[in-house]
Symmetry: C2
Subunit: 289 residues, 2 copies
């Protein structure tokens, strides 16, 4: 289906797409484009890409699809740089964690070619980064969400769907705002709450004592507080409105729970903990089936 | 050192102590006492205990040490039941997650024998429970905190320290209030925050959609929300004052973080995330050394 694919940013996300596509019976030619010559050379050495290009025009010649897997802050500049070289057959997609902002960038930068752009978000772990972290099976069984606009061509959606299905992923469509609202709740909020807890403890005079006795519950709760600060600053600001709403709702939920405790409402606390515990365990069970 | 040990509640916590002691060159005789004949029979069948007793007087005859490892709500009744049968040589300890309440129970129930009681808290995971979950190596390298009172006899502290060291644990002493303050911060608060997050999402109309796209970050952050509701209700109420203070401090921290986001303070958000991320990763590194 694909003959030539151009990937901007050949790290964990872009490199794993490349490795998955290389397992196809008739793999496409994969061209890497990036700011860092070192990363591109590493991607070449690791066999993630067939060629590295610094010239965007050459890279895009006869290409079927462009995947932007660089940090989201670079997306507007990348879109601007590719626009003059986009034939009507090229489909453009991205892999950013927020979608309303990316769709707005694409509309602003691609103009009349915006209908060739499909926003995308692969829901796959990213504890490690860089070309060496790429895995051919990263996306198998994982969700990928596409956020086409009303003007997006059906062909573009179909091609990007096929791209991710070829990587083994499960593809869903959402409106960009719905995507950002869902991920504000299930991903961005927990990340900010974990950062806040660690910071709350780390800045205390007795932080050393506290950390000494922190154990497995703390370890799991705060794992995502070890995430990349720059990436999470960008995600928080990009999804600001939905995230502010989630923070507000959560603070209300904590205040209600605190009131139960203040009032020694043992039945209320038990009901809350039991409902949450059942929901959490049912969710975990559903994910392992 | 020990010839006969009596364990009230032979589940994960008590059963793992029994299994660890059985590996000693001269293991003590271990007597199980419990409300449930089924659990006692299971503990006998699994070889955790040498005998099961329902008669407290017989159980305590010539015993060196009593370990109370039943749910904390049963502790006052257990202390009351053993008081008439305590020789001056018996040392009593417990394994509850909160200590101010247990020390108060012990003072009230043991009277002049309170100096033979040493509060204890092994910091060891408890995802599974019951006699079948017991492991001889559960406490190896784990922290155990003892909370002796000023009147507690040095011999009693020494014996309980030896008990846990024989299980491979690292023993520290703290005042009961200090213990409860530390664990309110590093354990009880994260548990309540995780319960609140899951409940906040689970009661929404679009809960199914949210849970569908929740991934590994959510999984780890909420693992402790799958904990035992009754146990956590009891811990929250037992450590109410320290926990209310932690909830209040945390909500202030979240409000400050929210203000950074509202004000588009990219430098402030980055500084917070970076400091937290560095602290979290340094902590994780220290725990694996």
């Amino acid at each position: 289906m694909f003959k030539k694919i151009v990937i901007f940013g050949v790290g964990l996300i872009g490199g794993s797409v490349a490795l998955a596509l290389k397992k196809l019976p008739n793999p496409p030619k994969i061209i890497g484009v990036g700011r860092s010559n070192q990363s591109l050379q590493e991607a070449l050495n690791l066999g993630l890409i067939d060629a590295a290009e610094t010239n965007v025009a050459s890279a895009l010649e006869n290409a079927d699809l462009v995947l932007i897997a660089a940090p989201v802050a670079q997306t507007p500049a990348i879109l601007k740089s590719i626009r003059p070289h986009l034939s009507v057959h090229i489909v453009i997609t991205d892999a950013g964690s927020t979608k309303s902002d990316v769709m707005a960038y694409a509309q602003a930068e691609l103009g009349e070619k915006f209908n060739q752009f499909v926003g995308g978000h692969p829901i796959a772990g990213a504890e490690k980064s860089g070309p060496a972290a790429a895995m051919s099976d990263l996306y198998i069984g994982k969700n990928v969400i596409l956020t086409p606009a009303t003007v997006t061509s059906a062909e573009a959606v179909q091609k990007v769907t096929a791209l991710w299905q070829n990587c083994g992923a499960l593809v869903s469509n959402m409106r960009p705002e719905e995507h950002d609202s869902v991920f504000a709740a299930v991903s961005h909020l927990p990340h900010l709450l974990a950062f806040a807890l660690v910071e709350d403890l780390a800045k205390r005079d007795n932080a050393e004592l506290l950390f000494k006795f922190a154990a497995s519950g703390f370890r799991d709760f705060t794992r995502i507080a070890g995430s990349h600060p720059e990436m999470w600053r960008d995600i928080a600001l990009a999804n600001k409105q939905a995230l502010l709403q989630e923070l507000n709702t959560y603070q209300q939920a904590v205040s209600e729970m605190t009131a139960l405790l203040e009032n020694n409402d043992d039945e209320g606390l038990f009901a809350l903990f039991e409902h949450a515990s059942n929901a959490r365990n049912a969710w975990a069970k559903s994910k392992t089936q």
